[in-house]
Amino acid sequence: MTSLKKCRLPDEDEVEVSLCKKGDLDAFELLVYKYQKRMFNIAFRITGNYEDAVETVQESFLSAYRGIRKFRGDATFLTWLTAITVNLGRNRLKQLQGRRYHEIYSLDEPIKSAGGSMVSDPPSNAPSAQEQMEQHDVRRKVQECISLLENDFREILVLRDMQEFSYEEIGVILKLALGTVKSRLSRARETIRDCLRRKLGDLL
């Protein structure tokens, strides 16, 4: 962890961040459009709810702009913003769990939102209708397994296997040592593997 902080990663958003520190809202707008989708998917996988993900992302960007002067550049802006999003998503999830109401995200039905149905962005190599149905079913079960994970395991799986952050970046985002990242990720994968075995019978 200590070695991660000393290792300063190059930040491709350094110019925009410096402008934001001077109050340039246009520069921040660029960052919003650049990272809104990524932050939304992180929040959605953590919270498992569309509206909560939207609100989480909004709060995340607002918090980032308010605290941009506190950003010292020890990490990249992306890791800093991701850490904010993960923390806010975690807090929102705790609120949801406290209300005893947390519906598991269902991939069978389109997610309703204020702006209409949620638009999915499936991977390329468009499969046939049968294959789409099968993939759809697998994804739903994968999401169920994700939702059943502990928060720590869920977060680290989202960051590594879905958003493909490096171990070092995950350490910065979750404030974990590199060894902890490895071991936690290993246990999270084994846990979801066991879940998928139960859900899918075979990992296909």
Binding site: V32, Q36, Q58, V119, V138, V142, Q143, M162, E164
Partner: protein, 345 residues
């Protein structure tokens, strides 16, 4: 490395996050352990399932909403700053205008008060007092009226030239009247200047008035100041005319009365002149000045009053004597007489 340790490192091995030594050990173990090989295959499929999850597009309005919220927040912040500094925005011009007004008023006051402050300058007072002993002798009766008249004239804000002073010398009574009108009320009460103010019939009367004015018991400090510093008026101090007193003392030497003069008509002007000088010295007098105008010589001499008649008698030896004015009768005092020697007609 045991089997359990190998299985814990399969996740990192999958991400190529192990050292080269660990990689060698793990690969050797995977070659001989079917369970670990199967576990690695399941782990790879699990990760693939996670990576194959679709990504969702956020709502199109989300970014705009974020930016609108930031805009509103910035405006609110600016509004708070405006509210905080609004009073300053109003007060600043008022303070600036007040400062300008105070500066202008102060400057005008300074312009107004500055000449009066000049009256209180110690050097001016000392200058005047230092010259008091040089005042004309009491034998010149015209000095006092001149001095007082000059003081009052200047108090009234007028500046007189030496020519005007000479004119005043010819009209002392009128100047005495001016003085009476210019006296402060307190001084007027103590002295019967009201009669002098109405009409001044003669020189003697005006001199009496002036003597009364010189009474040092002036009740008013303002009058006292005017008496002590007659020439220190505002105009003079401003214009640097501190030399008014020497001007006055010089004019005092010019007598208001026409001095007694003798006119000697003779054809030997130079010879008669030398003889006159001898006679003056013999009678104990002295020649004050000698001026040789064209075809004439003018002597100004000081002779004791009782010897003037003897002097006239001796001059008759040189020519025809014509007397102008009455013979002064000062006993034991040097009296100024003027002797003009000319060729006659």
């Amino acid at each position: 490395m045991k089997h359990a340790d190998i299985r814990q490192k399969l996740s990192a091995y999958l991400d190529d996050a192990v050292s080269s030594e660990e990689r060698v050990i793990i690969e050797e173990h995977l070659g001989s352990c079917r369970i670990c090989t199967h576990a690695l295959k399941d782990l790879t499929k699990t990760v693939d399932h996670l990576k194959n999850l679709e990504e969702f597009e956020p709502p199109a309005w989300m970014a705009r909403k974020i930016l609108n919220l930031l805009d509103e927040e910035a405006e609110k912040k600016a509004g708070m700053l405006r509210r905080i500094f609004f009073s300053f925005l109003i007060k600043l011009p008022v303070q600036a205008i007040a400062l300008v007004l105070i500066t202008v008023t102060g400057y005008l006051l300074f312009r107004t008060v500055q000449p009066q402050m000049g009256l209180l300058e110690p050097p001016a007072r000392e200058e005047y007092r230092g010259r008091v002993p040089e005042a004309p002798p009491p034998s010149l009766p015209s000095a006092a009226p001149m001095k007082k008249a000059l003081a009052k004239e200047k108090t009234g804000g007028k500046v007189h030239t030496s020519k005007q002073m000479a004119q005043k010398q010819l009209h002392p009574a009128r100047e005495a009247g001016v003085l009476a009108t210019a006296q402060p009320p307190a001084a007027v009460v103590d002295t019967p200047l009201s009669s002098a103010n109405k009409a001044v019939p003669s020189l003697e009367h005006s001199l009496e008035v002036m003597k009364k004015v010189e009474v040092p018991t002036l009740p008013s400090p303002q009058a006292e100041k005017s008496m002590q510093f007659p020439d220190l008026t505002a105009d003079e101090s401003k214009m640097g005319k501190r030399s008014s007193y020497p001007l006055m003392s010089k004019s005092v030497r010019v007598k208001p009365e026409t001095p007694f003069s003798l006119n000697l008509e003779t054809r030997e002007i130079s010879l008669a002149g030398r003889e006159i000088e001898k006679e003056v010295l013999r009678l104990g007098g002295r020649i004050v000045s000698k001026e040789p105008p064209v075809n004439a010589t003018l002597f100004t001499a000081l002779i004791e009053g009782e010897k003037i008649r003897e002097f006239i008698t001796r001059l008759r030896l040189f020519g025809v004597i014509t007397e102008k004015g009455s013979i002064p009768d000062g006993v034991g005092k040097l009296t100024e007489i003027i002797v003009v020697i000319d060729k006659g007609r």
